[in-house]
Symmetry: D2
Subunit: 117 residues, 4 copies
């Protein structure tokens, strides 16, 4: 079975067992996800880009668990909104392919609106 499907099933059971689905509306889950994204930032805020690419040991595991928290809320949000997260990712990648053609953006990472398309 696909890893996201298994996680989804287990996360839903976890919430139901604790009677936490009453708190898991999309507004609250979006806040929880963004809160975890904030914790992720805190691990990197004073590091240089080079240091951020060379995490080891404890720090790396802490970051792994932050990413896990974000994935968990992403899966919960998709379930609550009845969305197919993976299908949405493929749709978004197709949009990105047409927005950022290789020959136009090679080596240049401005935001889409800054290319003055």
């Amino acid at each position: 079975m696909d890893s996201l499907d298994d996680l989804n099933r287990r996360l839903k059971a976890f919430a139901v067992q604790r009677d936490w689905e009453q708190f898991h509306n999309p507004k609250n889950l979006a806040m929880a996800l963004a809160g975890e994204a904030g914790e992720l930032l805190e691990h990197f805020q004073w590091l240089t880009p080079e240091q951020s690419a060379a995490l080891g040991g404890d720090k790396k595991e802490q970051v792994a668990l932050e990413l896990a928290d974000i994935l968990i809320y992403l899966i919960r949000l998709s379930e609550r909104l009845d969305l197919d997260l993976v299908a949405a990712a493929y749709r978004k990648m197709a949009l990105n392919e047409s927005r950022y053609p290789v020959e136009k953006v090679h080596g240049d990472a401005r935001r889409a609106e800054e290319y003055g398309s």
Copy 2:
């Protein structure tokens, strides 16, 4: 093949073709992820919790694409940090199971540190 593995492969190719891996250090990717989490919030900020659970049409698709953006950066970060995102999610769920025993937290969603364990 697992959906996250396929997405990972395609996202890496997308970045390599555009010579964007130079920008994709973990510090920058963490910022990009948190920026997308901020966009997600903007969809929900003035909605009541009830309204947030009843999105339809265009708005729902916009939210789906925000979640896709977050997933995309989550996958990229895991790849750049050489982390197994799904394995980390299982580790985190095991931690949550022991931190929040059903009999202790039933119907009560305070944060872990507020349970005064």
Copy 3:
């Protein structure tokens, strides 16, 4: 003296004394500010809107200190970027006045782009 000017002076001295200005480039400070905004969210994520308006005691003080952290990074960022934060706020308010005329948006809090100007 204006409160923001006094805070600015003290925050700069705090950083200089610790030799922390080397870390206080705008990129890092933007991350630190957004990390604090994430902590702010965590206080409110499982509360109803009504509960969020009725904080008391300890919780209220914790939120006050999160707001303080955000103000502190806002002042530091403005100083590092050589920006006048209060003047920018007046400019932004003037923009908001013209974007959201009273007769058009009364009682309706959609985002600007959703008014289909």
Copy 4:
């Protein structure tokens, strides 16, 4: 009059005139603030720390207006929560002075909990 007091008064009038105070509960305002912090990140995410310190022209004005948005929501939140933002900033600075003594943290920007105090 102090700049924050004047801004506070004008922001409150702006919301009252539009009948927007109904949306301005602390939960919603915290989300709006964090959404703006996300927009701030997007300006800096692909820049090096050095580039982030050398913004000019349009980009600098865009960042100034993002900082203004954050200040605006910070002031609104403080008003809705009946908090004195500047007094909280002084309390937080006093805490920081005792948490980060100069002789202990000189030139070292780890997070407080990482000093293993």
